[in-house]
């Protein structure tokens, strides 16, 4: 079994359009939640979100490529470029055949779908653009990464709603660990801001009208976010041999299914995934310093997640630092696990724990240390990052300081 390390990291998120900006915003504890401005909000109840603002596709892509690139593909490509450049790996020199590309996404090209439905149903137009299907398909972000970088090993998209990216990273990790591939490009992407998608979320009655305050008394639900994070994984041996900078080690992965309610979280499923992850990583609960929580800011998730942490960590739960960075970058859905693992690694490397922003008041049912308001200077050696999805898919990734 190979040890698996991260040697490249790329982020494009509401908190920053690259890893350096993203990390600085996390440390500053500033929330990127604000008025929705990238789409028209007339007819929407929800007026707030965490958007990637001032993103100009033409600054990144040739104009003739854009008919193939939905916003979610654009994000994935931008993040992958940063991660691959940092890793200094060249996939065209033979390594590409021994490299996997595994990307998570919740829905894929929602903007493209929305635009085409508007043409057909609203504007009464008769035709779709010929590249509509390849642009909106959920695997598009993944295949364009392979094409741009010449990666010819296994590639596919993993879809498990809000656990998609953690599942993608977990699968990529296992492929590198087992020796099936030598390296992997993995992460998640989502571009959720379309009128139709937001109306759909509103209908679930879980959207906060004010802001996202995970684990806090007075929380009113979730706030949507968009973006992507991609990382390059390889074996510890290969990173050492070529003198690559190791950003972190992926230590383990655990995943379970609730097999109960479509939207309500379940204690057994959530705690089971955490326990499985620790077992896979051969970590004792006492070794974990920090938990990047799923922490959506809904009543149901935050109480269940707190209970799951108590159940697995016992007495050590009180010593854990737990934060939800969704309070700053919103819930990026299929990208969440990747954006949040990136946040965890940024904190590890920067010597800080990202805070739970917007935290107002202690909820008696959420009684852990949520690092409220401000980032905390602290060395983190071991962390886990939780994702618990609609459908009852739970996925937890453990990461160690390099």
């Amino acid at each position: 079994m190979n040890r698996v390390v991260v040697t490249g990291l790329g982020v494009i998120a509401p908190l920053g359009k690259n890893t350096v900006e993203f990390s600085a915003s996390l440390r500053a504890g500033k929330s990127a939640i604000g008025p929705i401005s990238i789409i028209e909000t007339e007819g929407l109840i929800t007026k707030i979100g965490a958007q990637v603002l001032d993103f100009d596709p033409l600054a990144h892509f040739e104009e003739n490529k854009l008919p193939l690139y939905d916003r979610c593909t654009q994000f994935a490509l931008v993040a992958a470029r940063e991660a691959i450049a940092q890793s200094k790996l060249d996939f065209r020199a033979g390594l590409g055949a021994r490299t996997a590309t595994i990307i998570g996404s919740g829905v894929g090209g929602q903007g493209t779908q929305d635009e085409n439905y508007q043409r057909l149903y609203l504007q009464g137009l008769k035709r779709c653009h010929p590249l509509t299907i390849p642009k909106l398909m959920i695997n598009a972000p993944c295949c364009h990464i392979t094409m741009e970088h010449g990666i010819t090993g296994p590639s596919f998209v993993v879809a498990s709603a809000c656990s998609s990216a953690n599942h993608a990273i977990g699968v990529a990790f296992q492929m590198v660990r087992s020796g099936m591939v030598e390296a992997a490009v993995t992460g998640g992407t989502e571009a959720v801001f379309t009128f139709g998608t937001i109306r759909g979320w509103e209908a679930l009655r879980v959207m906060a009208p004010d802001t996202c305050r995970p684990f806090s008394l007075g929380r009113k639900g979730m706030v949507l976010g968009e973006g992507a994070a991609v990382m390059v994984l390889e074996t510890y041996e290969s990173a050492q041999k070529r003198g690559a900078e190791i950003l972190a080690e992926i230590a383990g992965f655990g995943t379970t299914s609730d097999a109960s309610d479509i939207v309500m979280p379940a204690l057994e499923g959530a705690s089971g995934a955490i326990a499985a992850c620790l077992a896979d990583a051969k970590l004792a609960p006492e070794q974990v310093d920090y938990v990047n929580a799923h922490g959506t800011g809904t009543t149901a998730n935050d109480i269940t997640e707190t209970k799951a942490l108590h159940k697995i960590f016992g007495e050590h739960a009180k010593k854990l630092a737990v934060s939800s960075t969704k309070s700053m970058h919103g819930h990026t859905l299929g990208a969440a696990g990747a954006v949040e693992l990136a946040a965890t690694i940024c904190g590890m490397r920067g010597g800080f724990i990202p805070p739970t922003a917007n935290y107002a008041e202690r909820d008696p049912q959420c009684d852990l240390d949520y690092v409220p308001g401000e980032a905390r200077e602290r060395r983190v050696n071991v962390a886990i990052s939780n994702s618990f999805a609609f459908g009852g898919h739970n996925a937890v990734v453990a990461v160690k300081r390099a």
Binding site: R205, V206, G221, D261, M264
Partner: protein
Amino acid sequence: MADVASDVLEVIAKQAKTDPAKVTRETELADLNLESLDTIELIFALEEKFNIEIPYNANEATTAGINFTTAGDVIDAVAKLVQEQKGSAA
């Protein structure tokens, strides 16, 4: 008003898959085994039937002064919103 009350009780009974005769103003929604998704489906059904927007957030006990504990609470909220709807349409 009486029509609204009977229509609301009928929609609640349908969502709870129970006999409409068993649902009264005093019936608590919790006693009808309406789970989280049933409640939001119920609200959707009421919005569609009466062409109103019901402010409801699953994360709050009370949203915009509306608390859905009993069937009577639902009737009163819907009646008020229907009245407001008529007022704004006039």
